[in-house]
Symmetry: C2
Subunit: 500 residues, 2 copies
């Protein structure tokens, strides 16, 4: 294969999306390259080769140089002035498998693996990857075999961990606002000597994922060696799936981020690939059911349960599913900072802590302790509550925050919240019949969550409560007036409170 070399130069701006680099028109002419050609880059000290797209310039970089934007510099950790070896990338062969699947064909495991590997190496560009994701993860009546292949390929194209037998995990199918029980559970469960190396999602369809929320308290991005070190020290973590754990899943989540819903095959393979890669042996799946949540009926919950149990068996994980009809959000804060504040209020035993969040966290922690055999059946909840009450769980969370480079001494009330606010008030008297999760998603995303951590919605009234005309229902928080205007526009089509 033909190669050429260029010297790196950093350029002072971001480019977003596909990784792009800048070449001088003179080099492009000499190397016979055109705008938007894709190249493979490799360099001394770089772990593997990476696919990038070229943009052309006369003045931004000189001949002999390659311009790297701020993201490329951050993601690839190249030194300025380093030499990079480049070669032309053809259309990857895996597009044939993508076309086959778009047309309804069944892929072999080798074909699935080839596409997933090209997703990870970025040989597939964003748009072509989106075609694959639409066809592979949204297929109606996806077969169990296909979901097994996808999950296996997503695990095998990344790093794996083995922390022994005593390893538990938990996941919620989501679509329920708030519901930040995970960090509390990690603290409770690991305070009892069980390992819980938790990889959490960033927001998929919601205004904040557990990883977005925990990032308010600590860093959530670590490489594989660092993760091992954190688990060795504390038994637990709450991290985003970085460090090469099922890296295809991260790219899939990122590409599908604008869609307001996800399919069950996509959700299930995403969750399971991370759990398998992290070496979980016991797993609790939380399925809240509600017409405005992700899982809308108990019948759907049943189908999903069967798929989780099936995949668990194929990969040697004992899965327990808890599905139940949910009345609405859990906790009162929606959005990264407000959710992190709710978590700390529970951990720090504040008077104003959300009791529904506490109760749910204790329940699931108890189930998990019983599932792994750490405590006798029927004793889990009691022990979990004691860990919270005694402060043992909070001390454990402090250790984890510290290991993840956060401030372990932060007080719940010191968390910064956006200073631009708007109060939503009741326009009539009555009872809150429902809080619409879907509308809360739209409005809270319009406020800027999850990217803007301080943005969010705080619920003053919950389902079932009586309100008088003019009562404060909820408060919006963000950082600027333009987003608040956009949110108030959004609110017109997305009413949060249903009052009867």
């Amino acid at each position: 294969m033909y190669y050429f070399n260029l010297k790196t130069k950093f350029v002072d701006f971001t480019t977003g999306g596909d990784l792009t680099v800048f070449l001088n028109n003179q080099d492009a002419r000499e190397q016979d390259l055109v705008d938007s050609d894709r190249l493979i880059m490799s360099w001394v000290g770089g772990q593997e080769s990476v696919a990038v797209e070229i943009n052309l310039t006369d003045s931004l970089v000189s001949a002999g140089e390659i311009g790297l934007s701020l993201e490329v510099k951050d993601q690839l950790q190249i030194q300025e002035g380093a030499f990079i070896k480049l070669s032309l990338l053809g259309i990857p062969e895996s597009v044939k498998a993508i076309a086959k699947q778009l047309e309804g064909g069944e892929l072999s495991y080798e074909e699935v693996y080839s596409v997933v590997a090209d997703l990870v190496s970025r040989r597939l560009d964003d748009v072509t990857a989106a075609f694959y994701i639409a066809s592979a993860y949204w297929e109606q009546n996806s077969s169990r075999q296909k979901m097994y292949y996808l999950t296996k390929a997503m695990v095998e194209t990344g790093k794996h961990f083995d922390f022994g037998e005593n390893v538990v995990d938990k996941h919620s199918t989501g679509g329920l606002c708030g519901n930040r029980i995970t960090p509390i559970m990690v603290a409770i469960v690991t305070s009892q000597g069980v390992k819980m190396p938790k990889t959490s999602s960033r927001a998929v369809t919601s205004p904040s994922g557990t990883a977005d929320t925990f990032e308010v308290l600590a860093s959530v991005t670590f490489n594989a060696e660092e993760v091992k070190e954190i688990i060795k020290e504390t038994n637990g973590c709450v991290i985003w799936g970085a460090g090469g754990i099922a890296p295809a899943d991260n790219r899939i989540i990122d590409l599908a981020r604008q869609l307001p819903a996800e399919s069950f095959p996509k959700m299930i393979t995403s969750i399971m690939s991370k759990k398998i890669a992290m070496g979980a042996k016991y797993l609790i799946i939380d399925i809240p059911v509600n017409p405005t949540a992700k899982v809308k009926t108990l019948g759907e919950a049943q189908e999903i349960e069967e798929l989780f149990v099936y995949l668990g068996k194929r990969f040697g994980i004992k899965v327990q599913v808890v599905s139940y009809y949910s009345l609405g959000p859990v906790g009162r804060g929606i959005g990264p900072a407000l959710e992190a504040r709710d978590i700390l209020r529970v951990m720090q035993r504040k008077q104003n802590r959300p009791l529904d969040l506490e109760k749910k966290s204790v329940y699931y922690s108890g189930e998990l302790l019983e599932l792994v055999g750490k405590v006798e059946n029927g004793q889990g909840r009691k022990i979990a509550q004691e860990a919270l009450d005694s402060g043992k769980a909070w001390q454990q969370m402090q250790r984890i925050i510290k290991a993840q480079k956060g401030n372990p001494d932060i007080d719940s009330e010191a968390i910064e919240i956006g200073s631009v606010t708007h109060d939503v008030r009741a326009i009539k008297e009555g009872r809150v019949r429902a809080i619409n999760d879907d509308s809360l998603d739209w409005t809270t995303k319009a406020l800027g969550a999850p990217v803007i951590k301080k943005a969010g919605t705080y619920l003053y009234k919950l389902t079932g409560e009586m309100v008088k005309k003019g009562d404060l229902l909820c408060r919006f928080y963000t950082t600027g007036q333009s987003r608040m205007d956009l949110t108030l526009e959004t609110l017109k089509n997305h009413q949060i409170y249903e009052i009867e």
Copy 2:
């Protein structure tokens, strides 16, 4: 809605993909914007507002300025120093319809229209648009009603023409290399006083579309007023669907360009939306059938024929379909410049002209003249051949090339072809049993076609011919050694000639 204003500054580089602009970090902080936020831009003199994505910088542009890349400058035709009004764009509501369809739901016409309109205005980003295209245009068992809705929305979100009753058109389903009969037909048919305002596709899955090929001879991008002028002057044109004719189709083709195949619903709605917008009243569809072409069996051809006829009826177009079993490429040159040379060799009556290309062009021109009622049944072919032989068709093509700003005096042998070549020779004696269209696609695209006009493959041996060991089968042309190396790699998995 909240607005702010910035002054334009051109930056000297391309960015590719979604339209991106550059903002200074200070403005971003003041306006409460973050990297990759999407904005709506409007400006005095601009026809409509456009969605763009922002990238951030400290030094590339100053506070108060907005940086426009070379493509944004070209596409939007803004003056440097002009003031642009910007406002924040939320996630468009049409993503709900996309999610509904991904999950197998049926969309109403209003929902289809909302998504197609957001495709055109670019409120939908590239990746989210790809999710829609995968779900809308690749659906198995797509209903006729759905194809009608898609076609109608694609027409209604763009400009329409009305050139009267006497308007014909032609399209090939493609997937057959070479096969550049269209420009020849336009010249023959319009020389007989029939109007043929031909919008041609750029390459969809092949190494060159008719528009890519004709661009070697003339410009193919014109606005609506210019198109009217060209038709008034010459009765015919060969243009790429610019000027706002079914603009959604252009974006769809562009986004799906890496895929090696397209679905029939996508192909049919694409073809019909352009014909309807151009005001065609009579249409011939050419369906070459071959196991390595786009349509693989006569059964498939039958299904497709019915769909074309159905849509034709709904939109008032008389459609005639010609499907036949094809033996391989038509003409000897594959790739823009080599195909343009074949066309001129036919028009200019050169000794070395490809007779299969001539014969097919004459046949279809005759059919079209009969369909529109210009000549009596059974006379079409004779009159078409006379137009070629007499030089009348070539004079007509010269008028069209001139109207489309090309050089009407160009000789077939003056067309520039890539200077880096490689000869593919027979490794054994025998008869050419088949030429694999699919392999010709892959290798010719690896040479750089259609972006690199001079790149291509010239076939010295055709199906059925006897060859001796060492005989020249075909020659590759490109502009640099790196692409030739990539092509020779590609050739290993994609043999072009099958010799028995």
